[in-house]
Symmetry: D2
Subunit: 362 residues, 4 copies
């Protein structure tokens, strides 16, 4: 267990004597772009590359630089008391490639670049990685998953929602039968999958017509991802593979507040509609972890802790879309016990990924 | 102000001495069907009539009976300590009629039947009503709105989301320009519009493929309705009509927990994307009220109070889809001050609709 | 109702876009000292003058200056967005005078000085006052109470706990029979009494032996005052005078979290032990208001709102013992709706004292 | 880790589908009386034996029976899903004996009877025990402590507040120098001390004059015990013995809500007043555990979790003063994740006492 450096009595004379910095934080929804493949630029059509098209040009330019600048990233980590980040390819990632063969070959190259530049690079002690997998070809994704974990030493994979399988409107969700071998391998390897948002597919955009920016904001992302997670649950996947570990960002994309209501209604549903055996809430508590990426609300954090249990909530930031200083300041001064701060700040991540935060800054 | 009957000391020997029944409750998401028009049966296609197609046959039969049985309804109100309900035509309502002319003529008949059977019927003291309006023809809806309030004495209108305008996939949201006169009249009359859920339109169903029941559950309803409310906000409607009053059910359809995050991201958006002048949260606090219909979560209730303020939250049940006994028991024993229980239970509704709960049971 | 100045869209680009300053705040546990009588210096023995004997000399000197410096006080109010303060004589006040005759005569002089320097002085628009009353002579206190309200225009009185009646260990609590006429007059005048802490009397100090500073800290103050309030409730005072209004500081001195447990045990008590007819919680909700003086905890604030109801909680600071900037910053950025911020920040005080915050800065 | 038996889908049709029974609960503020020594009857004067003198005769008779009836106790545990209880001698315990020599000899006999009747008796699998220690003679208490742990297999000791040392008003708190060897041994043995309430000593009763029942209720108990715990902290005890483990009941006797305010004021205190090096909150988080005994408030529970961290809160009931059915029903249906329910319900106790709940009912 990492030692907490309590302040001495002479350090007590600050405005809010309860709080001090937690220097061992681990963050795990932290995005990069690669030289070999840049999801924010090289994928058609640009309208599907999330929120950047709606952002101010200055913010866009700054964000794109921060997606690849490793030195700036490490300096920001230092300043904010972040010992370690688990990096991942930014949205929409490999999932946005229409041609499965290209997806397969590109995934390998991206993983190799991540391995070279981050997890074995000059700042290797400060980084771990989620690998990318070409879900357009689930068999190939399964092979690449195993390579990521066993050969490259990655700690899991991150998938940006649905995958394009041949075109803009031809999409595949992760509960579909073709993905079965991938999940079996994931359970066998005992590593988590981070289910990250992606902008809703074209046929979901009618409701946003005239307000497309809502689709490319936390609102559209959250609904798409949460519905995807509900599909996984309702499909019976977690009955077939009870040891799977799925991570959701943004305090669970709204699901913690909705599952009990869905369960409450499902009581009256006809038999056979759901393919899962337990209540949705039960899978939530057993198979899901959540991060706080992009959330700065004391109330949302408190509710998330309550619904998920303290051991399932992991602090994260969403760099470079969010700012490490802002997010860390919020968390470091949040009115919780230092024990909870350490549990959420790094200890849960240490346990889930078999890491040691203090090693990163030793 | 309604007098709270505190228990005498001799009534204190109950398990939980804090709680006692609140007999003056007002409920306002309470659904009926009419003889002239039954939204659960007469509208094509059945798959768009919400959750009933997924429910157990017994539940469906019981629910359909309770939608029209006024005596059973009043008995349930008596048993649960509900003085007054504001009833409304059940989902999808007039909004699901494809032919605008039929919608216009049917709306009038439905309002007349509500007037005869409920607000001037044998139990008239126990009922108020939200009128129906044929949004397929906004000019006609505006006329009917005025008739509802001025001639029939209704306290507002309830709209079930988008309206079909000519077919299953031809839909109109309330922020669209054609609806402008309707909103102007609503503000002039100073009465609220209850924006009730409706099952997502066909082009939104791809994400639910294989799991359609999710669309016909609180999940699908909530997303559709909340997005609709976001459209209203982003359109600038509440800048043009700052005194509009919109009511959302189900503790705000998830919006209270999301608005601050959307505002937080919108900071970085390009100018001109939004057509509104203030933060979304500001409109939320000024123009929206929420009911607790269908929610039995202590935590969700507490968060809703926190985000909306105690004066904007109104208790409701969602009869006959929910059970008055269950929902009332939850609320009557909820760990809040009796002052808050009275405020949420009936006083806010008394203020918003210019009512007096005690008159209903005098 | 005071108008809330929502920020325009151009003001949204702040770190936390949810929050902005509330410029109309009213504070009501704000202490002064007078020229005619200085409770922090002229009362024997000094060990009973609360926490100042334990504080750093610099803090003591600064605090003593701020107790009387009106210009500095108004500047601090300006800086922190406080429109109006209701000032009161600092602890232990008139209550610490051993000789009843001196108490009676000194109370008049103090009230006159407050009237001259504050409520009719150069900054009269920014101040209202709680009067002092010589409870050592309840008949005289009753007369002085009436003079305070009717002649001097004060908005209520503030009493610092028990009164010395003849010596250090001869004390009188406000529920004792001699005080009955005073309470009757208070109800007749329809103004609140602020029950402020005082350091525990000598016979309560055994438990603090070796740690006397705990008695002169929020801990000792809170227990003394809360027990005093429980005596008032258990005495049946609020059955005899159901319209009395009592204000407690410090989020209710811990009572909101304890009353339900006391009520829960009292179920099993023998008849006749309590002299009140209702549950303690019932009096709490009907006869008590609380201020947030000295509290900066999001969680304590949330619980207080929940237990007391939004209409019974009033923001306050505890100047000069606390700093207006610190306390205002905490409140102005607290994660609550702007509606709740206004209700707690000034509207409840406007209602309770029949004031208008905007008049103070017009 | 104990396996959670999730309900199958056929078990979902209950009113509140979220909740189900937790059958492995461990409770640890559960009181007994002994044949050799009955604290509720044999100690002078009766007015200091806590709340029983104020209770209804029926409640008293029933409680006294339940203090010794082991079969009834086990049946109540079975009914409420309590696998294991850690029993302890009821208030005021050995601490109320005026004569140190009698205290020493009686403590041994009581521990032997507990050992014979409970931890090696017919229901031995269902019981563990806190031993009693004669703090009137700290050296002897140290010896008896070691015997309790090493010879009798007890899991810690429970002390009922201050000890009488020669008479009614001659009392000793646990921070006094004489107790130093006892604490050293406790740390060496690595077992917890449960600091249980006792009615305030006579010189503290002035404030309760006319309302003595308040002293013999949760109010008086909580203040006495919390102040005792503050003495321990301020004395520097936890600097000298940083691995000590102290358990408080009743959600921490109000301390979690007050410590930050005390720390906040202590900033301004003169050097040397406190004998401890860290903030009070720091010791709280490191050296204290709390139980929920006697608390049935959702809000108090939530705040306790927040202030203490999920790993420091342990469910308990306070049998026979409280009812196992009532307390278990409250906890089993509390709106928390099943993970948190298991953590608080039994897993934290398993860890703190090195136990296995499932062994008790195997």
């Amino acid at each position: 267990m990492a030692k907490i450096a309590y302040p001495t009595i002479s350090q007590r004379a600050t405005f809010d004597s309860r709080h001090f910095k937690s220097p061992l934080k681990i963050a795990l929804e932290e995005h990069i772009s690669t030289n070999i493949f840049n999801p924010t630029e090289t994928l058609p059509p640009q309208s599907l590359t999330a929120e950047l098209p709606y952002m101010n040009p200055d913010f866009v330019a700054d964000t794109k630089d921060r997606l690849t600048n490793i030195d700036v990233r490490v300096q920001a980590m230092d300043r904010a008391g972040i010992a370690l980040t688990i990096i991942s390819l930014t949205m929409p990632g490999i999932e946005g490639i229409f041609d499965p063969a290209i997806a397969v070959s590109m995934a390998k190259k991206v993983n190799d670049e991540i391995h070279n530049l981050y997890t074995t690079g000059i700042h290797a002690k400060r980084f771990r990685a989620f690998g990318v997998v070409p879900m357009q070809d689930p068999e190939a994704a399964t092979v690449e998953l195993e390579r990521c974990i066993k050969e490259l030493g990655f700690v899991g994979v991150l998938v940006n929602g649905y995958s394009n399988v041949g075109g803009e409107s031809m999409i595949q969700y992760l509960d579909e039968p073709a993905c079965a071998p991938f999940w079996a391998k994931l359970e066998e390897l005992d590593v988590p999958l981070y289910l990250h948002p992606r902008i809703p597919p074209p046929d979901q955009m009618r409701i946003y017509k005239g307000y497309e920016f809502l689709a490319g904001s936390p609102w559209g992302f959250g609904l798409e991802t949460a519905t995807h997670a509900l599909r996984l649950i309702a499909s019976g996947l977690f009955d077939r593979h009870p040891r799977l570990k799925v991570i959701l960002g943004h305090c669970g994309e709204g699901l913690p507040f909705s599952l009990y209501r869905i369960d409450h209604r499902i009581r009256h549903f006809q038999d056979g509609l759901l393919h899962c055996k337990l209540r949705m809430q039960d899978y939530w508590e057993r198979n899901f972890w959540v991060t706080t990426s992009g959330v700065f609300s004391d109330g949302a954090f408190a509710q998330t802790l309550k619904h998920c249990g303290e051991d399932r909530v992991l602090w994260s930031a969403d760099y470079p879309y969010e700012d490490y200083d802002e997010v860390s300041h919020w968390f470091d001064t949040l009115e919780i016990s230092e024990h909870t701060r350490a549990t959420v700040g790094w200890k849960n991540a240490e346990r889930l990924f078999n890491l040691k935060a203090s090693d990163a800054i030793a």
